[in-house]
Symmetry: C2
């Protein structure tokens, strides 16, 4: 079997007996064309199975490629999947397609992906930055008219449109919810590295809630992990303290799996929990899991909308779009602390 060449504009033109430009006109509904020519061109297009080469078109038009380059840390994380879905919804009506890659939270891979995307002349670049990545090199590209949007986390060395969850306020609300329920010793299980933006913000919200209630901030109640197993260990460690927490705030969906697994394993149904980020079966757990829900689809849509405005010529100053989180009380956050023995 021999690879057959794909038909070009010229092939269609030859078939019909007109010039390439005429075919182009018909196809792009650019300029006038006689109904008769039109008909014959379309016929030939169908007959030959011609499909215009978008690369060639973009190139000649001089505009960027009709793609949105998106770099996320992990394609497998449903959070980023939902974000991607939101972006696609926002832009696909404008003829833009998603070009995606995973950085695996590695600045090198992120940089490589960005380079590839730039080389492809994407219309828009969206990045959920890896920890430690630098983005100063994108300045010139943004100046050249390519919108850059940071997602979930701000970038480094570049001030541009950024879409993030209300991490701090959301966590603060979650912790306040626990405090309102009578808890005074509340643990925080955060992800690593500790300098990750979302981790820092959520922990700041945790501290703010404690401060707001006049509660002391016990550094010993803050634990770290970078996977569910680690989160489970961290949970066990906190609960084994001499004066253990009566409630926990889980810093993200991955931590939550570990926290809940450990509570389930040890049969501790008396520990109140609020988890940051919603999870599918939260309502079925026992007790049902109270969460601070994020809105990843909205985040994606906002990012898409912002990018489209920039493409439309908006040169205003960079905006930070805060997408609201929402406290969803389901039970686990409403557990009262055990009666105090004093």
């Amino acid at each position: 079997m021999t690879a057959t060449r794909r038909p070009t504009l010229a092939d269609v033109a030859r078939e019909v007996g007109v010039s390439a430009k005429t075919v182009s006109r018909v196809l792009n509904e650019d300029g006038p064309s006689s109904p008769e020519t039109r008909r014959r061109v379309l016929e030939a297009v169908a007959k030959l199975g011609f499909q215009p080469n978008l690369m060639a078109r973009s190139m000649r038009v001089g505009g960027p490629d009709t793609t949105v380059g998106l770099v996320v840390p992990d394609l497998g994380n449903p959070f980023f999947g939902a974000v991607a879905g939101g972006i696609e919804d926002a832009v696909h009506g404008h003829g833009l397609t998603l070009l995606m890659g995973s950085s695996d939270d590695d600045p090198e891979r992120e940089h490589a992906l960005i380079r590839t995307f730039l080389a492809r002349r994407v219309s828009v670049l969206m990045v959920a930055p890896a920890v430690g990545a630098d983005h100063a090199h994108l300045k010139s590209h943004r100046a050249a008219g390519m919108p850059v949007v940071f997602l979930d986390r701000p970038g480094n060395g570049l001030t541009t449109d950024t879409v993030v969850s209300s991490n701090r306020a959301g966590t603060q609300e979650g912790v306040a919810h626990l405090i309102a329920g009578g808890h005074r010793r509340i643990g925080f299980i955060g992800d690593l590295p500790a300098r990750l933006y979302t981790r820092r913000e959520r922990q700041a919200g945790y501290r703010a809630a404690l401060a707001g209630a006049g509660l002391p901030h016990d550094r010993g109640l803050v634990a770290d992990a970078h996977d569910p197993a680690g989160a489970a260990e961290a949970t066990a460690r906190l609960l084994a303290l001499p004066d253990p927490p009566t409630a926990l705030l889980s810093g993200n969906n991955v931590m939550t799996i570990g926290v809940m697994t450990e509570l389930s394993r040890s049969g501790r149904k008396d520990v109140a929990v609020v988890a940051f980020d919603d999870v599918p079966m939260a309502g079925i757990l026992e007790p049902a899991l109270t969460v601070v829900a994020q809105n990843p689809v909205t985040m994606g849509e906002s990012a898409g909308a912002a990018a489209l405005e920039r493409l439309g010529g908006d040169r205003g100053r960079a905006r930070t779009i805060l997408v609201d989180t929402r406290l969803v009380p389901r039970g686990s956050g409403e557990l009262p602390p055990p009666a105090r023995t004093r």
Copy 2:
């Protein structure tokens, strides 16, 4: 602020005082070049921040675009996110990038996306087909050397490499597990439309297990839904039958949410459940959820590997790659049926 033009090969050449071809040679390590020239070129490239235009390159070379076009029904579904991650892992080392879009299980949108991808001259096309979509029109493209791979579901009207889960055998194993536990009336909660490939296969596995055990196939124990709420209703309906099932097989992750929600709501801890497709917190539910786990990452990797072989010149006949599922007993599938009153 005025949009500054991006530097081209010619700009670099002018800067250095050589021809464009020389710059091209240095950059692509094609043909010889003097160390001195080389140095000056690289210097100018760095100075101007030149990045070769990949579109122009692909076009001139005549080869396809360095992308893998992937169409999935729903970007937000973690299953497809994981599949995409697997594909990316497999191909990114070969210089390929993922171009993704959601069809929303709508054949029209799927077709539009495929058209866009073809127009972009993707190197590979991967599709998780929408119900009712036709793919005969891809024949010529495959003949022209573009690998086409179907994912999760076979395509229509085109025989080509296909990667699917062992839906039938997996479900059969799950149902056999329930039967081995003593269940004789087992309900099946499947997704709609009923002619969806995965639904049909899984239901066939269900029937095969019943037949294998000499159990009657009661059509009344099979229910449908297309979202969690519907699955919850379907579950309630089955359990309200005069002679209700003592065990349920949930046909996919979305159904599972509804099934478990209803069991939780009604406090029915006596109904055995096996769910097709694993879910994050399955182990924490009470009882812990027994599942037939799929392997989406492996599916993506297999698809990627198959595509790469085709790109490498493999013209062998189309293969169907069955990715094994795995029964993960966790408790809910091991519940015995209630003692029979006769």
